[in-house]
Amino acid sequence: MNNLNIDKMPTNAVNPNQEQYDPRNYRLKLFPVIMAVAVFYLSAMLLNADGIKRNIELMQYGKARDVALSVFSPIAGFSNRLGLTRFRTIIEKSIGDRMRNEKINP
């Protein structure tokens, strides 16, 4: 343990205390990250619409479930019509189900 210095841990992240901080640079760096996150959320939602709907249906009965279902059912329907949910279904059927069902039995 003796030679591990936590102040010199391997990381390539920029130290926010460094002098190089510049507000203009900051906005330029921020935009692509926000765009990437937005595209990620949108596409993940569409690709996994069936799975998300299944999760919502498993929620306790109540207002939260009703609201979530009313918001998400049209999205799931749209995604299904476009065939986007098939990608996940194919993987689930080909490998996922096998991984889920195989289990050691005495």
Partner: protein
């Protein structure tokens, strides 16, 4: 709130958006981030938010008092009082039942009728982590290594920042406090690394750890007597990979989400099963805990500066307490003891035998020494670690001994062949630790943001399609 859930996805997108909207106005950002972090913690049980707040207020007041005090004796008194308070919370919530049961066991053995009352106390999630945050802050202020936080809110955010709140890493105050004090200087950092760590973390947790747990580890540890040696061996290999994938997954995701918010927190795992010695293993496994124990326990006890025998004592005591930190059970203490004794023996061999001028060349010279010896050392160490995992995972010594006893019964293996493939895949995920994937992260970061988002969504879909339904809690939540 668990990372790989719909509720967290919803929570994070709101916090992420508001964070970047408000970050240039720290006066608004700070209460917002604190409220978001408490909300994240309170999602599990609101009552325990009060515990973090109490721990935060007492620790900060103590730090302020120590910083303004010149007399060493008063500083020491304040530090001791605050440590007793913080460790007292930990002792009551985490260890009361354990100590009461153990003490009552001793009284019964001595035929004494009176007994300490037992209460059913709920263990607050992440209590060991946030008390260690408080301890490192106070001790560093006491030692003069850092100044106290500029305000209570700054310190409260450091204590409760949601990505690392419930299962670490145990980020040092001197690393994170300056970042939360001046959040306006944070920039979204290293998108390639952030996405890589989050996706790798999800893969490790959802596909590897959860599958191994449900398909192999849980059934075998529930009924060890029903299985023979091949299955017991596979079960312990599975557990070795499960616990690595489970815990390092949380750390990976914590670092990844922090990077997306512009915070840089320390690495916690660095391919631990590639270690050749136990010392190296602890430089790669739960780094934030091992360095914490080194800096706040091992060094203050004298470390290796005292006599040889006192060094061994310090090592064993440090590992014993590391074991106790993991859980209130004798099996965890025994696990720590095994590590401590092994490390003491390892140190004895390093300092007294391997440095001997005659023995060194014979062992390490030639191609044998260069190629085979490191491999054999890794294999040996991995099996020693697996041996100790029996005690770490078993509910009691009785169960652990049954499992070890079953190693003598060689029967036809019952485990599905898929388990071996998953163990190998889990072992290979260690290549994702540290900076080993830097080239892939850099390539990803050069893609157009839309492609970055789409690619990450496709990988997430594959992970969700492969993993078992539902999300099991992270193993380290209980610590």
């Amino acid at each position: 709130m668990l990372f790989p859930t719909l509720s967290f996805a919803f929570f994070f997108i709101i916090v992420f958006t508001l964070h970047w909207v408000l970050v240039s106005r720290p006066r608004i950002w700070k209460p917002f981030m604190l409220a978001a972090s408490y909300f994240f913690y309170g999602w599990w049980d609101w009552r325990f938010v009060g515990l973090i707040i109490a721990c935060t207020v007492v620790s900060h007041l103590a730090a302020m008092k120590m910083a303004g005090e010149q007399r060493p004796s008063v500083k020491k008194l304040v530090l001791t009082g605050a440590l007793v308070f913080d460790l007292g919370i930990l002792a009551v919530f985490k260890y009361y039942g354990f100590f009461a049961t153990s003490f009552n066991g001793i009284l019964t053995a001595l035929n004494i009728q009176s007994a300490i009352p037992l209460f059913s106390i709920i263990l607050p999630v992440g209590i060991s982590f946030f008390t260690f945050h408080a301890i490192n802050y106070m001790v560093d202020v006491f030692r003069g290594k850092i100044k106290p936080a500029e305000s209570l809110v700054d310190f409260a955010i450091y204590m409760a920042l949601f990505p690392q709140l419930v299962a670490g890493p145990i980020v040092r105050a001197r690393q994170l406090l300056p970042q939360v004090t001046h959040p306006e200087r944070c920039i979204p950092m290293d998108i390639g690394r952030a996405a890589g760590l989050i996706l790798m973390g999800l893969f490790k947790k959802m596909v590897i750890a959860n599958t191994l747990a449900t398909a192999m580890v849980d059934p075998v540890f529930e009924q060890p007597a029903a299985y023979g040696a091949p299955d017991i061996i596979l079960a312990i290999y599975s557990y070795a990979i499960q616990i690595y994938c489970d815990f390092s997954a949380y750390s990976d995701m914590a670092i990844g989400f922090s990077l997306l918010l512009g915070f840089d927190i320390m690495l916690n795992f660095n391919a631990p099963y590639f270690a050749e010695s136990l010392q190296e293993f602890w430089q790669r496994w739960h780094i934030s805990l091992s360095t914490f124990i080194r800096d706040y326990l091992y060094f203050p006890m004298g470390g290796s500066r005292l006599s040889e025998w006192k060094t061994y004592r310090n090592l064993i005591v440090s590992f014993l307490l590391a074991g106790l930190w993991h859980g209130a059970n004798w099996t965890f203490i025994f696990w720590g003891l095994l590590h401590g004794i092994y490390r003491a023996v390892e140190r004895f061999v390093e300092t007294n035998i391997l440095k001997h001028p005659v023995s060194t060349p014979a062992i390490t010279a030639g191609p044998w020494g260069r190629l085979c010896l490191p491999f054999i050392k890794r294999l040996w160490l991995f099996h020693f670690i697996c041996l100790t995992w029996f005690f770490f995972r078993a509910e009691s010594f009785h169960d652990a001994w049954i499992m070890l006893g079953r190693l003598a019964h060689w029967t036809k293996p019952l485990a599905p062949p898929m388990i071996i493939a998953i163990i190998i895949a889990g072992f290979l995920t260690q290549f994702g630790d540290g900076q080993r994937m830097r080239n892939i992260w850099n390539r990803y970061a050069k893609l157009h943001p839309a492609w970055q988002g789409l690619l990450a969504a496709v990988v997430l879909t594959v992970i969700l399609a492969l993993g078992p339904e539902g999300v099991a809690p992270f193993i380290y939540f209980q610590f």
